[in-house]
């Protein structure tokens, strides 16, 4: 077996070549390029020549001191947290319901299809739609609120910072909970059915099964969800830009919108935008690293188990374990 594995090993490399090539050309090279621009004086329209600044970190200092950037970082985190917490909770709840064998929800297929649907509409469309929904002084939501007696005067939702952020968070939640749910359901379906049978025999309630069996075993997929959502959330662009252009009073200005504004509107400050991009990259890398670190032990243990099962050489497994640790 081991011998055979060795003789086919070269295909492992061969099959990864397209991925690696595309990554090097379209991701790594632009990253390095971006990083370099961050240290230069590249600004202004249509320029391609640049030189390193006297103080190479000037752009980074400018950006970190920039009040709008600080504000945008704060906004991004607020909007992400406010949308992600309900999103993951609702997705987990729906996952629990939809994977519960004991009392199935009728029409769950239709529900699943519908819940993912908001994700397929273009952000531009959603932005226009919500803009008219929350119109002022006349708009459907205002009409509804006044009809129900919640308020006597129309509310100017889109110039209040908190409501504007709230609406953006809601849109993000609404667009993504279906996706998260589908991924989580996939994770549950991959679990060993014996686990559930065993817990049922032990007389566990649905809730107990979910909290003590499903959730712990969903760790890898939760990690995946957390990381992808974190990355997506910290790069939120379409909705904040199209919905209110980052307003009112910068309340929905996210870091991506900030970067876009620096680079592509007004003064074309590519260098400052690149510096801001690299700062964001570092922040994301640190946060992701922290999440990995928190979930490290179990992950490595799982990896080891899996590798044993594949009858992999112990030495390689340990090496890998050390790498994952480091």
């Amino acid at each position: 077996m081991r011998r055979k594995g060795l003789s086919y090993a070269k295909y492992g490399y061969i099959f990864c070549i397209p991925f690696v090539l595309a990554f090097l050309i379209f991701s790594l090279y632009p990253i390095i390029y971006t990083a370099v621009i961050g240290f230069t004086d590249l600004k202004g329209l249509g320029r391609t020549d640049f030189k390193i600044l006297e103080n190479p970190f000037q752009n980074f200092i400018t950006i970190i001191k920039n009040a709008s950037f600080q504000q945008s970082l704060k906004n991004t985190i607020i909007i992400w947290v406010v949308n992600f917490i309900p999103q993951i909770l609702i997705a987990l709840l729906l996952t629990a319901w939809f994977t519960n064998h004991r009392n199935k929800i009728k029409g769950q297929g239709a529900f699943k299809v519908l819940f993912y649907m908001p994700n397929i509409i273009t952000a531009a469309t959603i932005a226009i739609l919500f803009y008219s929904l929350f119109g002022y002084p006349k708009g459907p939501v205002n009409d509804l609120f006044m009809m129900l007696g919640i308020t006597d005067e129309p509310i100017y939702f889109l110039i209040q910072k908190s409501t504007a952020r709230g609406i953006v968070s809601f849109i993000q939640f609404w667009m993504w909970y279906g996706y998260t749910m589908i991924v989580l359901i996939s994770g549950v379906l991959g679990m060993n059915p014996e686990l559930f049978e065993a817990s049922e025999i032990d007389g566990a309630t649905s809730a107990q099964t979910f909290f003590f069996i499903t959730l712990p075993n969903l760790r890898t997929i939760l990690l995946y969800t957390l990381i992808t959502s974190l990355i997506g959330g910290l790069n939120m662009f379409d909705i904040p830009r199209l919905f209110l252009l980052g307003g009112p009073d910068n309340a929905t200005l996210t870091t991506s919108v900030f970067i876009y504004n620096q680079a592509f509107s007004g003064s074309y400050m590519y260098n400052r935008a690149a510096a801001a991009s690299m700062i964001m990259f570092v922040i994301i890398a640190i946060l992701s690293g922290m999440i990995f670190y928190i979930m490290r032990d179990k992950d490595a243990a799982q990896l080891k188990k899996f590798q044993k099962k594949q009858q992999k050489a112990l030495r390689a497994a340990e090496k890998a374990g050390r790498r994952a640790d480091g």
Binding site: L45, N66, S68, I159, N250, S267
Partner: protein
């Protein structure tokens, strides 16, 4: 392991060198491999374009505005036109009709200025060059200076280099001085001209005027709402007693305030808040606190709705140039003949403060391969004062046959022989008001970042008038936003 990492890194750098080094070679390879995605005809023109590009020497020497000899590249068959409305594209339809032998295909790109999308796209198209680069492009008052005098002025061709006899035609057509000032680059060469005159007036509802003051005569109403904004607010109070709003939102007043100020947003590279513009904070607050308007934002649903009485209360009037009447208000009045909606119930009078608003300038790319053809088109649009020139059609609304929308134009010669009577205004001749209004227009208070800065300013004014922050805070935040986002010194 280290060996592999080292290998990877070297690979990346070799790769990157190779990729930047042979950009040209890559390009030709790409265009041949991407036949599926590109139509074959456009591919061919691209190749031809790159060939001629190398031969051509950049033309251009500073001097008087005398026409230079120019000729077209016979291989180029396409003229790219960039605009933010369909106005200029429609003009070119007419131009083709008048010149049946016109051998070029016009490729039009229209991107609206809403959301600030037009400038970044245009800038990139200009910077990228090649066959897709614009030959003719349009710029609006809010950002035209960037293309005539500012960061992007290097792309604009001098009219004289397009074979246009600028000095003679300017005199002959009596072009409004402010469009010339705005369109002249720092070297003294004319690079852009507008076809409209956009001096503003106050456009009001006749029925409401009768209800409040017993008459709808423009000569009486102009003394009710002005001169000066103090009288304007007195009128607002009178209108309020009868349950009317004087304007739809503070944005209406902003255009009047903005363009009547002495200085623009930027003076000597520094942010400058003209006292007249700063006072807008107070005007906006006063309108809001006293409930003089429907608190709408210009260009949003509720603003359009007020043009046909679909808002919370009826609105007396709008500040605007002639184009606002025909292009915005008529279409949103809820009717198309007197008696329908608010159509025909409007009149224009002198505004409480003079101003101008908007306008489209037409520029050419200095790298265009067909300067003579482009020059002919631009001359026809901006400087031809004959009865077959664009401006005559434009002023009289005969561009697409009789009965079209009328507008004020830049050429005084054309205005003198045109008639501005409109059914929408109950038969009033709008040129009687708009032609003198043109004197208020000047190009001195514009800057190249106006579009972006106005966005921040209006945002902060809204915050202040809505009571979300103090006046000082709003001003401080405004300065901060400008400093953070633009290459402008803020003190």
């Amino acid at each position: 392991m280290k060996r592999y990492i080292a290998f990877l890194l070297t690979f990346v750098f070799v790769m990157s060198l190779a990729l930047t080094g042979c950009g040209k070679a890559n390009d030709s390879k790409d265009s041949s491999t991407s036949t599926q995605t590109e139509s074959s005809s456009s591919k061919e023109t691209k190749k031809e374009e790159t060939k001629t590009e190398k031969k051509e020497e950049p033309a251009g020497d500073a001097g008087a505005n005398e026409a230079n000899e120019v000729s077209n590249d016979p291989n180029v068959k396409v003229i790219n036109l960039w605009s933010f409305t369909d106005e200029v594209p429609n003009m070119l339809e007419k131009y083709k009709e008048l010149n049946p032998d016109f051998p070029y295909e016009i490729k039009t790109t229209i991107i609206a200025t809403t959301d600030g999308a037009y400038q970044p796209a245009l800038d990139q198209a200009l910077a990228s060059g090649g066959a897709d680069a614009p030959d003719i492009f349009c710029a609006e008052a809010a950002f035209v200076l960037k293309y005539t005098q500012g960061d992007a002025s290097q792309y604009a061709a001098a009219y004289k280099d397009l074979g246009i006899d600028v000095d003679r035609l300017l005199k002959e057509a009596e072009i409004a001085q402010y469009t010339v000032d705005i369109g002249t680059n720092p070297d003294g060469n004319l690079v852009g001209l507008g076809y409209q005159a956009t001096g503003g007036a106050f456009i009001y509802r006749r029925s409401i005027a009768k209800d409040v003051w017993g008459t709808d005569d423009p000569n009486v109403i102009k003394d009710k709402i002005g001169p000066g904004l103090d009288k304007f607010f007195e009128a607002a109070e009178e209108l309020k007693q009868k349950g009317y709003g004087i304007v739809s939102g503070d944005g209406d007043l902003w255009h009047a305030v903005e363009n009547s100020s002495e200085e623009g947003w930027i003076v000597d590279g520094k942010l400058n808040i003209d006292p007249k513009r700063e006072a807008f904070l107070d005007y906006s607050k006063r309108l809001k606190d006293n409930n003089y308007h429907n608190d709408t934002q210009d260009w949003q649903d509720a603003w359009f709705a007020d043009m046909k009485d679909a808002g919370a209360k009826k609105i007396f009037g709008f500040f605007g140039p002639a184009w606002l009447i025909n292009y915005v208000m008529a279409g949103n009045s809820g009717g198309s003949a007197p008696g329908e909606g608010t159509y025909g119930d409007w009149a224009v009078c002198e505004p409480p403060v003079g101003f101008f608003w908007g306008g489209t300038w037409v520029l050419a790319n200095k790298d265009t391969k067909v300067p003579a053809a482009v020059g002919d088109i631009i001359e026809w649009i901006t400087l031809d004062s004959s009865e077959t020139g664009l401006q005559y059609f434009w002023a009289n609304g005969t561009l697409n046959g009789p009965g079209g929308t009328k507008d004020t134009v830049a050429s005084g010669t054309v205005m003198k022989k045109s008639d501005g009577t409109l059914d929408f205004l109950g038969g009033q001749n709008m040129f009687d008001v708009f032609v003198p209004a043109g004197e208020f227009a000047n190009g001195k208070n514009l800057t190249q970042y106006d579009e972006t800065i106005n966005l921040y300013w209006r945002d902060q004014v809204r915050e202040y008038s809505a009571g979300n922050k103090s006046r000082e805070q709003a001003l401080a935040d405004f300065k901060q936003q400008v400093a953070d986002n633009l290459d402008v010194i803020v003190e």
